[in-house]
Symmetry: C2
């Protein structure tokens, strides 16, 4: 067995205490010794995905966060609102590691041949706790990156790519033929646009600014609707008539958008069909899956879209379980093959673990603004 | 072929004209001569179901309705609000017959043996346009009632019974083991309570008054929650823990109730399980099907029930298509066998066609209040 590790490494932790105070800190944790079928990864790049922000900040008002402790050992504290706290009873008092995915170099390996084969390789990992200097994972959770691929290039090769591909697979499994996507100028949205262009799937992109319309058009998107425009509903219905989309993936969740999409779909269906009037609306099933929570308010559905509709939560992990191991493997192979093209991610910058707890940096990356995705390199600025 | 009919019969009609005015009238229509495989039914009892009210009144403000025309040939007019009108473009200018189901005597029959066999029998029909003196339908749409059953007893043997049984079948098909039902003191709700008691299915009844709690308890219901009570959420969660229900059928649709049910289900699941905290909530799928529109406002979903959830429209007809002919036949046989017990309906009164267009009567039956269901007998007070 090869040893090439410090005795402890730092790990970013998020804790809610009994008083409802959120505490973020860097905790030294013992660096594990890999078991026979495990590898130890020195994490070099881990993206801060919107899904990480939820665990990290727990709905706390981060604009009012304060730093306690020293600059070298900071403790960031913020208050979790009562309403958010109710749903988090199960994590109160638990110091939780963060970071769904990332990449780095295998610096130690267990005795098995499979583990030894990865030694020295750069691998991507979907394993949680990736905002850590070292992560020990089973061999089958470490995906070796193609030669010539850096940790930065491979850092985001699970969450967004599998989510985007999962949307397309869901469309096929549930017998739809086109897609609608909101917050469509996001990293994920740009990826989905590339996939749909490559696979010939009609896609209606919904964005919130003219700047994002231009961005997606520059990437070859055909249908881009600006929900801030006065003509939004007309534009949307036109795009829905052109594409025939009856399935939407919505990153926002709060507000009226999910309902507007269903309304637009029903209007498009009724315009194209010459079916007799039914007070139950068309018989075509229209579905919106909410996969994110960028909008925190309630979802408001004004029911003027008939009775054949559904709105529901969607997460990539349960979907992949439904798709099965073989299907998931097929998606992963495509991701590996197109990592520098279809599935390339762009970052606004790279943060060390200390920088990730810097109030000024937090103020920027906590917004999860489009084009402002950051990477954490837990081994940046470390001796 | 037997002839026992007048040359024309009256039919209740609902029309929206181009100005957005709703017009209700009694129109004389030629009484059809049955084709070989058809029967002519003299309708004697047809319930005014909530689903009929939607087609009849088209969302018009019926409290401000006026009568034009004579007392013998009334024309009731009311204004359809702009918002409601938008969804009804397809029916503007079409004079529409009303009445989903009903029962009566076969007074003429086509030449086929199957048709002749029904002559003189009392049959139930699910065929639309049942608020008519005479209805001609294919033989297979006419269900002969068991001997000794009156038209009144058989009038409601499709919509509510098939809907209630459809809910139970949906529960089984989608792998749930218990049910939640709202507006549970309705005719349909009482029926569902009887079915669930007979079949040993745990049922959480949600009602809006203490009076309805008492009514359902008097019929043997175990779990009845009053959504007007201050303790509603606590009561609901307790009932959900006791039953393990993860599927709800909601007659109301508007407001916060659907979301409250999902919140209660998630809370019940988390209380029973010792799973580790996940910011995505439990992995147990929670579903609310909205099958009615008693609440006209938007559905408001406050998302504090994790990611494994769905809300959608549900209608009995598409469900029966999914269930298939054999499954539907099984349900119909059960209904016929239990027509005077499980599937017995209760009515507040019987109206002639003229009375159905009486403003004072409309003011009562348009409310669709629990315990205030009316029957129309299109041949009442007719020479």
């Amino acid at each position: 067995m090869t040893q090439d590790t410090a005795r402890t490494g730092l790990q970013l932790r998020s804790l809610i205490n009994a008083d409802g105070e959120l505490q973020l800190s860097l905790t030294p944790v013992p660096t594990p010794v890999p078991a026979a079928n495990e590898v130890l990864v020195r994490v070099e790049a881990a993206p801060i995905n919107p899904s990480d922000l939820g665990l990290l900040f727990a709905g706390a008002d981060i604009t009012k966060a304060e730093q306690r402790g020293s600059n070298r050992e900071p403790l960031i504290v913020a208050r979790v609102p009562e309403a958010a706290l109710r749903g988090m009873a199960a994590r109160v008092g638990q110091s939780m590691p963060v970071g769904n995915e990332g990449a780095g170099r295998v610096v130690a390996a267990g005795s098995s041949a499979a583990a030894q084969a990865l030694l020295g390789k750069t691998v991507a990992v979907l394993g949680g706790a990736m905002f850590s200097q070292y992560r020990c994972v089973p061999v089958d959770q470490a995906l070796p990156l193609p030669p010539g691929t850096t940790a930065t290039e491979g850092a985001s090769c699970f969450v967004n790519p599998l989510t985007a591909l999962g949307m397309v697979e869901t469309m096929r499994l549930e017998s739809h033929t086109a897609l609608v996507h909101t917050a469509a100028a996001s990293n994920l949205g740009q990826m989905l646009n590339k996939i749909c262009r490559a696979d010939g799937i009609p896609l209606v992109n919904i964005v919130r600014s003219q700047e994002h319309v231009a961005l997606l058009r520059s990437q070859g998107a055909t249908h881009v609707c600006n929900s801030s425009a006065e003509t939004f509903m007309t534009d949307l219905i036109e795009a829905l008539i052109a594409t025939g989309a009856t399935l939407a993936f919505d990153a926002i969740g709060g507000g009226k958008l999910a309902g507007q999409i269903l309304t637009g779909m029903e209007a498009a269906i009724l315009k194209k069909r010459a079916a007799p009037y039914s007070r139950y609306g068309s018989s075509v099933h229209k579905q919106v899956y909410v996969y994110g929570g960028l909008g925190l308010g309630p979802i408001e559905l004004n029911r003027n879209f008939g009775m054949a509709w559904g709105v529901g939560g969607w997460l990539v992990t349960p979907f992949l379980q439904k798709l099965g191991a073989q299907g998931t493997q097929r998606l992963k192979e495509r991701i590996a093959a197109e990592l520098k093209t279809t599935f390339a991610s762009h970052y606004a910058g790279e943060l060390s673990l200390l920088e990730a707890l810097d109030l000024a940096k937090i103020a920027v990356y906590a917004k999860a603004a489009t084009g402002q995705k950051y990477l954490i390199n837990p081994n940046k600025d470390v001796g």
